[in-house]
């Protein structure tokens, strides 16, 4: 039986190097190459578009599939082997930059202070230079995660017990709209995109995705798909919930100043108050409960948090660097327009 995910618009991501080219060809044809084309070529940049796009495409098979790609490829052993090779390179790059052996207190303490220096913050930049073109670009940058918000963290549920499981399920219930489809956070983000005149369909802007945006999603998918990394997945989630509220407050200011639709403001207004609650539950009950059950995972929770801070700061540097030099932060600008710096 060949079941194909074809209910979505055509797949827009064109490959950007030998690895993503080989992965794309294998996915679309369903044929695995005989040579080493699916192996990571030596000297491939672990943070670059070729590797990150290849990994993102392989991971999509575990979420909603890709248009025109057979659903049966999700558990194809050759593609899993290829994915594993890419993950090894990605993990080595993370481990080279993120210190191991830190405590949860070490990792989270800096996040619980409001930084006085916000020069590296995209939301602070937008709050001070509200510009609709930049706000639209940033929505596209965020869409690769926000249109599946909280999905990767659901993979932790069967791997947790007791307090940690109850806390994660409660937060996820809120993320998934508390029984109301119109309140799904991913749906609120789709409404934000519509409010900004963007196409809210899942995967529509994949061809625009800069590597640094895909990296933030690949990190949580990597932690999510491997039970061995459950501590890091919990660290990633708690980090995101802890840092979200202040950034959301700045985004509300930015969106209001550039006259964005109320639906766009609503996404961030919901996140200010929701994540103030989620943060408390995530740190006390989810992290606290997990470490009460499995104290040996503390170093991994800290690693998950620190790795999240790393990939988020790489993304912010990419976005602000592009804007400061008058370039688009996307692989291809929206509507062919170059945003003003």
């Amino acid at each position: 039986v060949t079941s194909v995910t074809d209910l979505r618009p055509p797949w827009h991501a064109e490959p950007c190097g030998p690895l993503s080219e080989a992965v794309t060809a294998a996915l679309l044809s369903g044929t695995i190459p005989d040579d080493d084309a699916l192996r990571v070529p030596p000297h491939t940049d672990p943070w670059g578009e070729d590797l990150q796009l290849a990994l993102y495409l392989l991971y999509e098979l575990h979420y909603r599939g890709l248009p025109g790609v057979s659903d049966s490829l999700e558990w194809n052993p050759d593609l899993l082997r290829a994915r594993s090779g890419i993950e090894r390179v990605f993990l080595a790059a993370l481990e080279a930059e993120v210190p191991r052996g830190r405590s949860v207190a070490d990792a989270f303490e800096p996040l619980l202070k409001e930084p006085t220096d916000l020069s590296g913050s995209v939301s602070a930049h937008l709050a001070h230079h509200a510009d609709l073109d930049l706000v639209r670009e940033y929505a596209v940058v965020r869409s690769f995660y926000q249109l599946k918000e909280a999905d990767p963290h659901a993979w932790a549920l069967p791997r947790l017990t007791g307090r940690a499981k109850a806390a994660l399920a409660a937060i996820e219930y809120d993320e998934f709209g508390a029984g109301r489809p119109e309140a799904l956070h991913a749906r609120l983000f789709a409404d934000l995109m519509t409010g900004l005149g963007l196409d809210p369909r899942y995967g529509h802007y994949l061809g625009h995705a800069p590597a640094a945006a895909l990296t933030t999603v690949n990190l949580m998918t990597f932690f999510g798909l491997h039970r061995a990394w459950r501590g890091a997945l919990v660290g990633n989630f708690a980090c995101a919930e802890t840092t979200s509220s202040p950034g959301a407050r700045r985004m509300i200011k930015a969106l209001r100043e550039c006259g964005a639709a109320p639906a766009a403001v609503h996404f961030y207004a919901e996140h200010v108050t929701a994540d103030a609650v989620h943060e408390q539950l995530a740190r006390r009950e989810l992290v606290g409960g997990l470490l009460a059950d499995e104290p040996w995972l503390e170093d991994q929770v800290a690693f998950g948090c620190d790795a999240t801070v790393l990939v988020e700061s790489r993304l912010a540097q990419h976005v602000l660097g592009a804007w400061q030099s008058g370039r688009s932060a996307l692989r291809h600008p929206l509507d062919g327009a170059v945003p003003a710096a």
């Binding site: 800096p110 619980l112 202070k113 409001e114 930084p115 006085t116 220096d117 409660a170 219930y173 809120d174 508390a178 509220s245 202040p246 407050r249 207004a269 200010v272 108050t273 929701a274 994540d275 103030a276 609650v277 943060e279 408390q280 539950l281």
Partner: protein
């Protein structure tokens, strides 16, 4: 506190939160008072 909750503010207005749990502001610094928006966080002096 566990929700849903209704809070009567000093001005006599009633604010309602349907969330399964609600973080109430107790420091009065919140821009979304009576709900917490994490404005209580200390500034980081580097």
């Amino acid at each position: 506190v566990e929700g849903p909750v209704e809070v009567v503010t000093a001005e006599g207005t009633v604010e309602r939160s349907d969330r399964f749990m609600t973080a109430l502001c107790t420091c009065r610094r919140s821009g979304t008072y009576p709900w917490c928006d994490t404005s209580h966080r200390p500034r980081d002096h580097m």
